[in-house]
Symmetry: C2
Subunit: 147 residues, 2 copies
DNA sequence: GCCGTTATGCAATAAAGTTGCATTCGGGAA
DNA sequence: TTCCCGAATGCAACTTTATTGCATAACGGC
């Protein structure tokens, strides 16, 4: 997803030097069809060029802070990371499989949320409205029925 | 919230013996205005009558499995637990403060989600559709502006 | 090349939850 | 009542995921 994003530019606009590790992490996240855990991202980039896992955590944190990357937490212990919504990449709900832990991206138009009332009445500052679908994925359903 | 719920009955219907620990945990969860962490629940019930924290985790797990209690996970490491939707207790979105970690319940009518398209097209089994609002709570806003 | 800033590495530590196994409890059968 | 069995609890060790402190290395302007 998001082949249109210019990671170099995104980093510079956010005030982060577009160095090797940051670019590689962004590329891994952007190239994947669904959000990955820090451990998965680490595994991928460590294979091509060794890096410390703490570095991965730190880079992910800074990318999340700057809203380049979105941190998606669910019932599985580990957070997942995907590209944050931007001009080429609309906000969209995520599906969490309670059986295998898979986290997947759904098309932005699958679900519409009417936020008007919330925006008018809420007594704090709203940064994101996330929709999380929980259930059993296609694959796990198949496996279950095969018993 | 949910003073109407008969915890005894709910447990029995779910096939769980309504023993002391389970009832006390349910009462703490049900009496609180917002979802609590396992550690917070443990602290409360341990004060009146000592109990092992593992017991609390195990009871919470079984209550979540049986959909008596809802597990709400956010960006803070610890999960929060609230009463699950039932006849006296409509599904509703939760607000997560990124600044102080507070998790709060919003009124069910604050947000409406149109799930039709999702239900028709999704190739798995959907168990829950959760809406999560992230931002800065009233309190934290005040503190910030006071600098 | 020098130097301050930023990035990375490494080891220790922390937080939250889980597991294995031993012990105790509680309720029905004898 | 006593015996017994399954369910519930306790306790210690462990796992997973993430964070912190401090030392070293790389980078970039001068
Ligand atoms: Mn996504
Ligand atoms: Mn709630
Ligand atoms: Zn699955
Ligand atoms: Zn707050």
């Amino acid at each position: 997803m998001c082949e249109l994003c210019d990671y170099n530019l995104m980093l510079e606009e956010a005030g982060l030097a577009p160095n090797d590790n940051r670019l590689r992490i962004l590329e891994v996240i952007g190239a994947n069809a669904y959000p990955l855990t820090a451990a998965e991202i680490f595994a991928v980039i460590d294979r091509t060029k060794p890096v410390n896992r703490v570095t991965v955590y730190r880079i992910l944190d800074s990318l999340v802070q700057r809203r380049i990357v979105e941190k998606i937490s669910g019932s599985s212990r580990a957070a997942h990371y995907g590209l944050a919504p931007n001009d080429n990449h609309l906000p969209h709900p995520h599906f969490h499989c309670t059986s295998c832990g898979l986290v997947d991206c759904l098309a932005p138009e699958t679900l519409s949320v009417d936020q008007d009332r919330l925006m008018k009445t809420f007594a704090g500052e709203i940064e994101r409205v996330d929709v999380r679908i929980e259930g059993t994925c296609r694959n796990c359903l198949k496996l279950k029925n095969r018993t």
